[in-house]
């Protein structure tokens, strides 16, 4: 390697564009994909489903980003960022698809930055404040188990774009669930302190389970995963206590608005700007 090369050519053209992280290049993420919606698909429902799944992913990625520089070990720093980046990538593709089929022609940033809390359709579990590592692991376990089961179904959706996004997501979510399950077992089994924290986290998460199962029937699969993991970690299966309200209907906890205020602050301060 020439000593100067990498810096001197900064302002010139480059041929190594494949090095841009996935989805961070300049092309529309769905560029070149046939975006026509097949006949018989309800576009209103398709767009709404895409937005809800994108909102879950974006809000979860935002919570995972909050771990940056705060993770218990460097390996976890890298892993949590990986998961956050995967979810952010899923959100971008899903927003792009929503914008194509809902007739608005909106881009991903219009959905992420210029809607208010009441317009978001994520489940409330995603927006709850970070908590400790045990809470983040339990939340990730529940959300990734549900999302994986749901994406497996969606990979045969009649809309080929959503099906492709889901198929790509399945590989990512398999890792997310694996990561969360391994840590759940480690923490459940590890020390008295980690066990105590895991029990508390399971109790905190339990009221928000039900919301995941209202529209999509993958409940049995998710419950089976949780049962297996809690057993392996010597933890009690949490008792489900439903809570009024529904994130999918835009009824959120008080935690979503501040999360969005932070996420949207720069974009909204400069609405005319391009970045």
């Amino acid at each position: 390697m020439n000593d100067d090369h990498v810096y001197m050519t900064l302002a010139e053209g480059h041929e190594d564009d494949s090095r841009w992280a996935y989805g961070t290049g300049f092309e529309d993420p769905l560029h070149g994909v046939d975006t026509a919606v097949p006949e018989g698909v309800d576009t209103g429902r398709l767009a709404a489903d895409c937005v809800a799944l994108a909102d879950d992913a974006l809000v979860s990625a935002q919570r995972l980003a909050e771990w940056t520089t705060r993770a218990p070990e460097l390996e976890e720093e890298v892993a949590l960022a990986n998961i956050g980046l995967d979810l952010l990538g899923q959100a971008r593709l899903l927003y792009a698809r929503a914008g194509q089929v809902d007739g608005s022609g909106r881009g991903e940033d219009a959905y992420a930055y210029f809607r208010d809390a009441g317009d978001f359709r994520n489940v409330r579990l995603a927006e709850l404040p970070g908590g400790d590592f045990a809470f983040s692991i339990v939340r990730l376990l529940v959300l990734s188990s549900w999302r994986l089961a749901h994406f497996e179904e969606l990979s045969s959706h009649p809309d080929p774009v959503l099906a492709a996004i889901a198929a790509k997501g399945v590989k990512e979510l398999t890792y997310h669930r694996q990561y969360a399950a391994e840590w759940a077992v480690r923490l459940g089994d590890g020390t008295q302190e980690s066990h105590r924290r895991m029990r508390k986290a399971l109790e905190q998460v339990a009221p928000y389970f039900g919301e995941l199962f209202t529209a999509h029937d993958v409940r049995d699969e998710v419950v089976a995963v949780l049962r297996q993991v809690t057993e392996a970690g010597g933890l009690p299966m949490p008792v489900y206590r439903p809570l009024p309200g529904a994130g999918r209907a835009g009824e959120h906890t008080e935690h979503l608005a501040p999360l969005l205020a932070e996420l949207q602050s720069v974009a909204r301060a400069h609405p005319e700007a391009t970045w």
């Binding site: 100067d4 990498v6 070990e73 590890g190 720069v266």
Partner: protein, 325 residues
Amino acid sequence: MTTTHSAEAPPQERLQEHFDATIARDQRIEPRDWMPDGYRKTLVRQIAQHAHSEIIGMQPEGEWITRAPSLRRKAILFAKVQDEAGHGLYLYSAAETLGADRADLTERLIEGRQKYSSIFNYPTLSFADVGVIGWFVDGAAICNQVPLCRSSYGPYARAMVRICKEESFHQRQGYELLMTMMRGTEAQKAMVQDAVDRWWWPSLMMFGPPDGDSPNSAASMAWKIKRHTNDELRQRFVDMTVPQAEKLGVTLPDPELRWNDERGHHDFGTPDWSELKRVIGGDGPCNAQRTERRRSAHEEGAWVREAATAHAAKQADRARKGTAA
């Protein structure tokens, strides 16, 4: 120390000769090779400092991941900060090949016994800082580090090859953000110029004190751990950055900056070395904040690391009982 005690062990002088000859031939020293104590200590110090800089360096930019103004910029920044954690990991591993221990190095960092790059003690005040850090700070890091790809210590040199590739990529991403902002609104252009004004001098200080005042340089040069002096690298950085600033349309905040035909280099003003001393000595704008964040992450994560260790021990115990039964 690595001196072996077997009967055939060559005497110290022979080992030293072999080491000197390896350095003279520009060949690599590898972890199992004999090396002088001073060489090992200098390397551990430098690699640890470098690893700490990667980890502390996640903080100033990491602050902006949750606020990045587009999803594409959010993904770029998130991935970049993640890369820095990865760089920290490779470098701690390189230090471990010299007998250092990551946990111990982390303790030294949070107790203030080992340093990290002075640049990360400055605050990031707007999103333009993300771009300017990519352009200047990653750029200066590349100037410093590309020659280290030829460092005499094998594991360090190999880690540097990978790190430099990723950093040159970060630098381009930063520069590209600034190009986009400079084509944008007046407010965006002003943000870029303001960030350039704040980061220029601290970036020049990243190369360390002037050569006459750099106590460790001579030995490092002789051992080929380091290949160029601080002032040489600083000059190179200035020469490369000036045309890039012109292309971008920003002004570098140095009235003495001009091309010198005779020298074939740019002349530039003298950084405020007393500021560098203050920042290195712990009195920069963000020293306390950066160390405190690292400390609290480490301390708050202790129960997680303890749980992982306890679980691994229990698993090993269960496996042993399982095989015994």
